[in-house]
Symmetry: C2
Subunit: 244 residues, 2 copies
């Protein structure tokens, strides 16, 4: 038996998300089906975490166990040949049998991309959400600092799927601007449902001066979803890195 780790990139536009779903085409399911054809094994692949419908990944991590003896590089090539071209296996490694891509993940880094202009660039329209209000990046940066560290992020969790424990630690948050694009990077030990998209929606309200930067502290303190900004669309979100 071998334990194999995959690093996977995908354009999530046409999928119902990472995780298997009854009605919809999930990335996990597609990879499992191709794996079964190649190895003969019916393996369950474990992802580092779910990504929602329409969310992308530059480096999702997953692992699976198999009896197959196919050399790693051949398995990677066979998978990339069999998979649709919006899902790619970037790397393949054999791990210790105890490795679990979900439980061993220490942090995840997400990036949210905003097109801050009055037209939509056709070349990145699949990977960015639009905001045509002029954004003050410095205010957004100031606000983002209040989110750093260990907090109860209940206010930034979409309500219908509350987890009991809503305490998470944001290790890193950075906002960059390149021409009309604004990138928001957030790395944390875990994320609540829609947490990044809700944080970005709130930072946008701050950037367009609808609320003050320091008000983000009050939002955190209130532990109430109704206090934070709107949930931004999935298409701007991308899983960049899983650290172990």
């Amino acid at each position: 038996m071998r334990n194999i780790k995959l690093t996977i990139a995908y354009d999530g536009t046409n999928y119902s998300g990472w995780q298997f779903q009854k009605n919809g085409k999930s990335i996990q399911e597609i990879i499992e089906k191709r794996l079964k054809k190649i190895t003969g094994d019916k393996a369950r692949i474990v992802g580092s975490g779910r990504t929602d419908a329409g969310v992308h990944a530059k480096a999702q991590v997953a692992n699976f166990k198999t009896h197959s003896k196919i050399p790693l590089k051949n398995l990677q090539m066979a998978l990339n040949t069999a998979l649709p071209c919006d899902i790619r296996i970037l790397d393949i490694e054999e791990m210790d049998m105890r490795f679990n891509s979900q439980h061993n993940a220490k942090t995840k880094l997400y990036r949210y991309t905003i097109m801050n202009n009055d037209f939509v660039d056709p070349f990145i329209r699949r990977f960015a959400a639009r905001c045509f209000y002029k954004l003050d990046i410095n205010l957004m940066r100031e606000a983002s600092k209040y989110l750093l560290g260990r907090h109860d992020f209940r206010s930034f969790q979409t309500k219908d799927s509350e987890e009991h424990d809503s305490i998470r630690t944001i290790k890193y948050i950075k906002i960059e601007k390149e021409a009309d694009l604004v990138y928001i990077y957030i790395e944390a030990d875990g994320f609540l449902y829609n947490m990044v998209r809700n944080i970005v929606g709130t930072l946008i309200e701050i950037g367009r001066k609808k609320i003050n930067a320091s008000y983000i502290r009050d939002i955190l303190a209130k532990r109430d979803r109704s206090t934070c900004g709107p949930t931004m669309p999935a298409k701007g979100l991308c899983l960049m890195k899983v650290r172990y």
Copy 2:
């Protein structure tokens, strides 16, 4: 009567090219239809040149004449609202009545993007062609210098549409490498049918050491399409700039 110049970006993946075609969805036709709805005028828009099916543009230029008195910014906004999101009007200007985006074009700059690796990046798969042979960029650069200047480019023209005059002047050619991506920029006073895609196919044969860099002089001299490399796919090609 006003003469209006549009600067247009498009993701050409889902179109049959710039120019109106009987069987297919052309970018020109879609813009004309939306214009007619907005202005009431049935205007013919003139593009700086055709781009083929699947070719992209970061800045195609077109012009049209209209009786409409709609302010420019409103017209741009109305067009961008009406157009599909893979076609965007980046800029709009009122020109002298004599301006013709095709006849007044002095040079056009194209970029060809090659993914030089053994997997396809799902994020740029729509905008790049793949080459998994290892390319020697310096040999490609050396060869590209022979193409600079005024030459008969008949060897780089796809045969079934020969123009009588196949003499063109390449003003600028540059090859850049960024990680696994190779960009080939070519600016000329005009291009023959498939000229960029045939030049890139030839430069790739040089980069993978199938032919010598200096052999490109012989290809030019032979004035025979069968001597040059394969035609690269449309998806890697992008019209970057039209100079007037």
